[in-house]
Amino acid sequence: MPRAADPPDPDAGAAPAHPKPRHPKPTHPLRAYPHPVTPAPDLLIPALTARARAAAHAGSSSCPCGAATLADRPDGTVVRHGDTVAKAHPPGTDPTELARRLAVASGLPGVLLSPLAPAPLDLRGRLVTLWPYGTPVDPDDPDAAPWEAAATLLARLHRTPAPEDLPPMRGPAKAAQAVARLRAAAAAHPAAAPVLRAWNALPAWARAETPLPDATTLCHGDLHMGQLVRHPAPAGPWLLIDVDDLGVGVPAWDLARPAAWYACGLLPPDEWTRFLTAYREAGGPAVPADGDPWPALDTPARALTVQTAARAVAKAVAAGRPLDEVEQAVVDACDRMATVPPQLAQEHAK
């Protein structure tokens, strides 16, 4: 029962809920981390469920499917009823900005999943959007991750002219949020120092301290493998979901999470090559059509490595456990950044 929209998770620990249909108690590592969950306001889930049910089974007094809560986190709650998914956006979400982001999703069928209603609803003080259900990437089979589809969808998104009133994409803001949480919760951890050092060496825009250098390119803002669904389920084409961080900005940010995983030695070279090649073949503008893509990717990939490391350290501290091998690899990459000056994209770009 995957969600049709992935809430941003500034809580530095919440794994997106990716239970597979008919597996209410998944044992996937997605659930391996204990993570703090602040209960949503008592009545939000019933109200959200009622909303989803009303949309899914309009005109029927009985519900044939049973409801499922897909995610319940302080920053977002997602429930499914039949073919309909209702998402309560994080408290404090700007209604005008969300409406503009939603309008982009409505206007880009074939790239982004289209919402069922063009405007968010107000439900008990939370903004709620309704989506059709889509089948997500199988979290138990990450080898089946659709790298080519993800890259092609991003290239098409980046080539789409952005509406003039669209707010900036929130990638750097999310990274800054993760670093703020690291400072607040885990500053004494030995891994915090290299992570913060790498963060402080980033250009101001990548730390969300100044406007993004690109204010025209349409970006997703939070790409990962939980942000793709097949619609119509279960075998329709892949589409991007989650518009919460969508906006105008530096398109290399959307490539930078896989780039960071590759750089940290976590994503095998062939999977990175498949992703990058598909993006280039689809005419994506974030990197030059050939040659070394790293002058364009360097800053965003550093920022996302720092963000990932900051969340990993905060999670480990919260759980009272040491960093695992993968988390340590990301922290080690932050440590190495201190010895290598940032690449200068404008001087290297071909």
């Binding site: 996937h28 030695g265 790293w294 988390e327 290598v340 000056p341 001087e347």
Partner: protein, 96 residues
């Protein structure tokens, strides 16, 4: 130009394609805007190039990776995270 420190004349030299001014008196060096960055970049390229390339040619050369990348994982097929995906990375693939 004149040295801002000791007022002796400064002479222009070319170091790896970067023009730098050096004082003929105190030997201090003056860099124009961007020149320090150019030198730093050259230095980084030099240190990247320092380890000798692996002698065996690869059928599929590994794609480029940044200098801060993992020593092995980003550059070949022998990364210690290896062929079977670590559970924790499986989680990371789906996380913000």
């Amino acid at each position: 130009m004149q040295c801002p420190k000791c007022r002796a004349p400064m002479h222009t030299y070319n170091r790896n394609g970067v023009q730098i001014e050096q004082c003929s008196g105190c030997r201090g060096i003056f860099l124009d805007y961007g020149e320090l960055e150019s030198l730093t970049r050259l230095e980084a390229q030099w240190s990247q190039a320092a380890p000798p390339p692996p002698p065996a040619p690869q059928a599929y050369p590994a794609p480029p990776a940044p200098a801060w990348g993992a020593p092995h994982g980003g550059h070949g097929h022998h990364g210690h995270h290896g062929h079977h995906r670590h559970k924790s990375f499986g989680h990371m693939l789906f996380s913000s």
